[in-house]
Symmetry: C4
Amino acid sequence: MPISLDQAREQVARANRMIANEGVLDAFGHVTMRHPTDPGRYLMSRSRAPELVQPEDIQEFTLDSVIVKPIEPRLYGERVIHGEIYKARPEVMAVCHHHAPSILPFCISGMELKPVYHLGATLGASVPFWDSRDEFGDTTLIVAKPEEGASLARALGQNWIVLMRRHGATVAGLTLDELIFRTIYTARNAALQIQAHGLGHVSPLTAAETELASEYNLRPGPVARASEYWSVRLDKVEGTWRAAKPKAAAPKKKAAKAKKAKKKTRGGRR
Amino acid sequence: MPISLDQAREQVARANRMIANEGVLDAFGHVTMRHPTDPGRYLMSRSRAPELVQPEDIQEFTLDSVIVKPIEPRLYGERVIHGEIYKARPEVMAVCHHHAPSILPFCISGMELKPVYHLGATLGASVPFWDSRDEFGDTTLIVAKPEEGASLARALGQNWIVLMRRHGATVAGLTLDELIFRTIYTARNAALQIQAHGLGHVSPLTAAETELASEYNLRPGPVARASEYWSVRLDKVEGTWRAAKPKAAAPKKKAAKAKKAKKKTRGGRR
Amino acid sequence: MPISLDQAREQVARANRMIANEGVLDAFGHVTMRHPTDPGRYLMSRSRAPELVQPEDIQEFTLDSVIVKPIEPRLYGERVIHGEIYKARPEVMAVCHHHAPSILPFCISGMELKPVYHLGATLGASVPFWDSRDEFGDTTLIVAKPEEGASLARALGQNWIVLMRRHGATVAGLTLDELIFRTIYTARNAALQIQAHGLGHVSPLTAAETELASEYNLRPGPVARASEYWSVRLDKVEGTWRAAKPKAAAPKKKAAKAKKAKKKTRGGRR
Amino acid sequence: MPISLDQAREQVARANRMIANEGVLDAFGHVTMRHPTDPGRYLMSRSRAPELVQPEDIQEFTLDSVIVKPIEPRLYGERVIHGEIYKARPEVMAVCHHHAPSILPFCISGMELKPVYHLGATLGASVPFWDSRDEFGDTTLIVAKPEEGASLARALGQNWIVLMRRHGATVAGLTLDELIFRTIYTARNAALQIQAHGLGHVSPLTAAETELASEYNLRPGPVARASEYWSVRLDKVEGTWRAAKPKAAAPKKKAAKAKKAKKKTRGGRR
């Protein structure tokens, strides 16, 4: 059964903070998801750095990127990036637009991003480029107009990531978890490709390996392992992981270490 | 209405710590601003690492870089970098001198710094070099004499950043917020240009894109989003962000997570 | 006298977290050790990011990688990497499979990993490659089938590390401490080799230097020093290092600093 | 008047932790200083990662690197690196041996380390290499024998740093503060030189600039600013910086911020 709207707002706010915590988003960029029960709407924060997004920041937008209940605070200027992809790709449930430091060099150089290790396979068979100059000449580079978002969505096509020249990347996923996994591991893959290029040769996955490895990565097991990992790391940073660690326990643990040779394992206290 | 002197001291001290927290300043370098009501003065800390600068460290200087009320502690040796720019550029309200790790390679190699993504557009149409050897031969490389600062200001001209060969960079802004935005995002841009260069090709913004994107970046929306981001990050590091986080609340939050499937969103408690 | 099973579970869980804390493991990868008293079994966590592995997660497996006491939670898909090496190498007591960011560029480029400084000598005389394509054609790149694990173990041969093309590395050790030392310092060595390559020339250790330096590194002294270092760093991150630091002590320490010119050293309180 | 032995032990222990905190030392390497009143002795920790060294770990050694009061715990194997330099250079009061990640690529590639910005000038007019192979053929690469330390000291000559091929660097200073400054800023300089090399051209300081800038850097002002910076950063990491930050104060500060438009500056409370 689909999640509730409140759960969706909690999840997409958390996805913003999680991807920011992994260094892929900074002051700019955004993560959205399609409304859990109304495919004609999507959920996006009001304008705020992803690292700071909370459930109460999340607003509802039509696929034309018009806010359903207008608010006072500013909205993101690049809403249409998301709205136009939700229109063009009915199966896509989540989108991330970012300027990851490891991906931008590809956007700047025109070097093709390829899957170079198994965890990068989710970037898909190919990663197209989009250059605002082609259709629109000189612009602010901000994808703010519906026709610009529609152009970008056409460039994305049936792929999972599109690299925006001199700007950043936009990533799509069938679920929010898949979107998070793909966003983070594509950034890791990009960093490795840059390093391997520096060593003189990049030997990528074959098309078949890419398809097989991507399917494997997106099975429940690997996605759950990575999700728990990123989730706990976020909780640690936000202070909600074992926040109630009593000072008294620490010395006992230290003394316990000294006795470990004699005692059984502490059975789950850690 | 202009801010008070105390507010200005608080802001410029904080700008020092904020830019240091983002890795652009280390033990050396400085951020100053023109006096809020007297254009013939500027505000600068006594000699101290930017990361440590507090409002009470901020002193007033004439544009000849003479301290208005002499103090015992040392002053920065390179005050004239700021004073001479405030003289030459009446519209400039803030200046940063730094040795950012991503910018120095350009100062060392002579490679031209270009805007390579939209967020780097605020570096402006062109970034000139200044080499102390040209006018002054072999020096300590420290810009300490008025004539050296005046020479640097001439090299800056009407641009927003000047790269100082074998030294670092000096950045100017029409406001403190613009100066912070430009300083940090130029450093990010530089890091990306180095990586893209390694991939074999750097395709920069056109002059028109640069102008359009820069104007967009410096609108209130983007500046506010980045400012909140850097500000919160500084508060977190300094322990003044949600400092009063009760240990009791954490377990309830964890239990609350388990109940999330049933409850509405917590409405702003986070 | 051999350690107990509980001690072994504590140690291998900690090894996972320690290597993760040093940046060599992320959401994926694993560290295992052979059962302390039954060479026909090895100890491995259920499927979980290494950074999160606790003693209670550690399970027993036969060398055919069949779990001795089946559990509900998922298991790692690549168990056979470890099981097949424990079969092929009776002297090996610990194995790590990882995707370290500094090692992957070698797996992607085919560049040979060499010892470039004394602390990298434990990578051994030579580091072979293994490419799943050679025997198995296009696969998910996940080493899940016994024959794939056996193939990898054959490629490892009598060496200490094997680089898996487009995937990562697998490291072996005669003891868990040796395995940890080799895993971390090989990753450090790899990062330095990449940088040196960028400077134009890599001058590695001779075969004799490699053997002599490796033997020296693995003596009790160096291993103990590194182990204490990584162990304390992990405790600090986990909050079990001097966790009971009384707030009262801090101001006294600060006042104590002012008096240091007159007082003797505090004799071990720090 | 010279410092006491206890003060010296506190200072050199702290120097170890400070340089480790800045990423220049890891599990290995060491910082020592000559005895404050007996030039025939020097102070060095027993074998321990620099990050962990405390005053009570500091021992006295003769310049032949024999411990004055034997202890049970292990000693560093490479004591002679320090002892032989203290013999050869009577004016040197402090020595650091390290394997900094930014310096090793020079030791591996043979690329000459040059001052590339003003803060790197303290590396001096030239940085010689030393290769254990030249005199000793294949060794463990560990400088453990007196004749090896003496050979290294000869290579250092009257310079301030010697790069040890396939090993690391050894740095000398006229004072402990100078040694710390030189050690850290040479590592920063090396990182920048690597990046500039990647951009295609390295334009170093002239010999005269190097001498002038080095003399300027080592004046009390710059050294004090950097020392305070590194010292505070260490205190923050060790929890002795404003450790007693009352939770109550934080909310007042936050409310105070809101009132700042009306109040004067808080006068030194921060």
